[in-house]
């Protein structure tokens, strides 16, 4: 049974409930108490997660939940990312009518991501999906603007559709295997008809793609990134992916090789990165551009998933890349959050002269997303490329490399004006009110993005352990 396995999750859940309840009694301007509660809960959860309770990796709840290295990494990443999101939203959310609810929803959605990452059973995976998605719809719609409502609608409808396909897939797979636990999937499915296996697998993977924001379920990502509040946009482009990709890795690791899963994931990866990059080319809205860029990033992140179990590098590479990606992406969104009046790329004109530190953070984050060393994403890309090649998909590595070059183009379209290089005439938007939380978060996240790269040896050592099943 070992309920202690779930202590971090419990802490997050309690934090969500407490934040929500406290909000009911707090005056509008003093909702920071709810924020503190949420932060405290996350900190406690992180503390528990970081100290392996009861000694190291183990399974819990009759093997339905794997509290192994990957889960620990996902927990810490989700918690860290959520903390950063709350931090960077400190200015935007303060005093909002729904501030406390936002914290509760963020925690709940994060909890869903953690549960997905740790799920060692199809049913847990499905429930984790629900837990992650439902608060997400609300978060997207929280802004209550027309665009936010539209984005919420699209997020919801896509989420519902892919939730259904996921349940369909779970039904098929569990029917074939006669059980839902991954340990049994691995043994039972090997002898089953590949056609049915393929159908079920694709259906489940499709659901995971929704959470990850990859093709073919990527449609909501740019819309939500553009229309939701910056805080939420940062969250939904980061945290769900962590859960979904670790879950995908776990699942594909468990599925038998009678179906060409690497090919499926490779095609989805290639499609995601290519589509995301190309669609980002001509975007003019910074957040929409970031939204598309996350679609392409998922493509790279799917590389190790595609070779799950076929290369020793794959799992640590995935986790390392996720860590680097989370920090880097959040840094970019934090910069956006710090400059709410600048929505279009052109409005970033001359950022370097009026806000040099923010410009620096933007530089680190965008070049980091490209994969410029020594930022973490570089090591992530390097190791995922190596893993994909090692796992028998060298062509995918080449596609990813070409895509990386293409991606440079649109990131530079943003950096160019920011560093005052295109036209001297542009009347750079005068910086509005200071947003200290977001600025600090941007710097911290950018520093983290660099540190993950420089300290990648440490990170790698921490995440280099096999999955439990």
């Amino acid at each position: 049974m070992a309920p202690a396995v779930l202590l971090p999750e419990a802490a997050i859940l309690l934090g969500a409930v407490a934040a929500l309840l406290s909000g009911s009694f707090l005056p509008r301007r003093r909702q920071y108490v709810a924020r503190l509660i949420a932060v405290a809960a996350l900190a406690v959860a992180a503390g528990i997660a970081a100290v392996p309770a009861g000694g190291g990796d183990r399974l819990g709840f009759d093997g339905t939940y794997a509290a192994d290295t990957a889960t620990t990494a996902a927990r810490l990443l989700v918690i860290g990312s959520t903390l950063l999101v709350i931090w960077l939203g400190g200015d935007e959310l303060a005093g909002r009518a729904r501030e406390s609810e936002t914290y509760a929803l963020l925690l709940l959605s994060g909890l869903g991501a953690v549960v997905m990452a740790g799920a060692n059973d199809l049913l847990i995976l499905a429930v984790g999906y629900l837990l992650g998605s439902i608060p997400l719809y609300a978060l997207v719609g929280l802004e209550r603007s027309a665009a936010a409502a539209e984005a919420a609608l699209k997020t919801y409808l896509l989420g519902a559709l892919f939730g259904i396909t996921m349940l369909l897939g779970v039904s098929v797979l569990s029917g074939l295997a006669g059980a839902t636990a991954y340990s049994q999937l691995a043994t039972q499915l090997a002898a089953q008809p590949p056609a049915a296996l393929a159908t079920g697998g694709v259906a489940v993977v499709a659901g995971l793609m929704f959470k990850a924001g990859g093709v073919p379920a990527h449609f909501w990502v740019p819309d939500a990134a553009q229309a939701a509040s910056t805080t939420v946009a940062a969250f939904l482009t980061t945290v769900p992916k962590i859960g979904a990709l670790v879950a995908a890795y776990r699942l594909l690791d468990a599925l038998p090789p009678s179906v060409d899963w690497p090919l499926l994931m490779a095609l989805l990866a290639a499609a995601s990165m290519t589509l995301g990059n190309l669609a980002a080319f001509a975007q003019t809205d910074a957040r929409r551009l970031l939204g598309w860029s996350t679609v392409s990033q998922v493509g790279y992140l799917l590389l190790p998933v595609a070779v799950a179990g076929r290369s020793d590098l794959a799992l640590p590479a995935l986790l390392l890349y996720l860590a680097a990606y989370a920090a880097t992406n959040l840094a970019a969104f934090a910069v956006v959050a710090a400059l709410p009046e600048r929505r279009s790329l052109a409005s970033y004109e001359r950022l370097s002269s009026c806000r040099p530190w923010l410009a620096g953070a933007l530089l680190v984050s965008l070049l980091g997303l490209v994969g410029t060393p020594p930022a973490g994403v570089f090591v992530g890309k390097l190791t995922t490329f190596a893993a994909a090649w090692d796992g028998g998909l060298p062509w995918l590595t080449v596609v990813a490399a070409v895509n990386t070059v293409a991606s440079l183009f649109y990131y530079l379209r943003w950096l160019g004006p920011a560093f005052g290089m295109s036209s001297p005439s542009g009347a750079g938007a005068t910086s509005g009110a200071s947003r200290p939380y977001a600025e600090a978060a941007a710097l911290v996240a950018a520093a983290a993005a660099l540190l993950v790269g420089l300290g990648s040896g440490l990170v790698w050592a921490m995440v280099d352990a096999p999955l439990l099943r």
Partner: protein, 190 residues
């Protein structure tokens, strides 16, 4: 239950489920569509009973009937429509939709018919519902443990999305305004 009865019942229910399902998109008002959907669900719920899933079948029937009732109410309340009277033909590109649906059906049907499904493993427990209960409290406890935060999240999320006016609109920024500032006064002791 004799096999013949089961077969007949199954086919009747199947035809009802699919037929009423199709009817959902043929009728010209949302209310009727809701009723058709409810019938379809009830048919499937009953079919589950045929498959030996007593508890789950009943739950399905009950849940879906309730849900459809809510849906009808919802439409009247929020959408401001008189469901019975609004003629409705609001579709786009039905050909595409039909094409995709047909392709999906062909694919799934081919899967259902052509795949050599494995033989049955194990026998149904004597008391299906008890087995379910044991599973929920035992090996699959975590599933249900996780469903509860899902429900909690749904509650919060739905309220946050659906209600335009929060507590600060009603009670003021420091929650001290009494009585609440509601457009339509109500509540206990009012």
């Amino acid at each position: 239950m004799s096999a013949v009865f089961v077969d007949v019942a199954f086919w009747v229910l199947s035809v009802a489920a699919v037929g009423f399902g199709a009817l959902v998109f043929r009728v010209d008002s949302m209310a009727r569509a809701t009723y058709a959907l409810a019938v379809s669900f009830v048919a499937v719920g009953l079919a589950l009973l045929l498959l030996g899933l007593e508890y789950v079948g009943i739950v399905t029937v009950l849940m879906m009937v309730m849900e459809m009732a809510i849906m009808a109410v919802f439409m009247v309340m929020y959408m401001g429509m008189n469901p019975a009277l609004m003629p409705m033909n609001m579709v786009h590109s039905p050909r595409w939709a039909a094409g995709v649906a047909a392709t999906t059906f062909v694919g799934l049907a081919a899967l259902a018919l052509l795949v050599p499904w494995p033989a049955r493993r194990g026998a149904p427990p004597v008391d299906v519902t008890t087995a379910l209960g044991n599973a929920i409290m035992g090996s699959k406890m975590l599933v249900m443990l996780t469903v509860s935060p899902v429900l909690f999240a749904t509650l919060v999320a739905a309220v946050v999305l659906a209600s335009a006016r929060g507590r600060y609109d009603r009670f003021g920024d420091d929650l001290s305004r009494r009585p609440a500032d509601d457009p339509a006064p109500g509540g206990v002791n009012r």
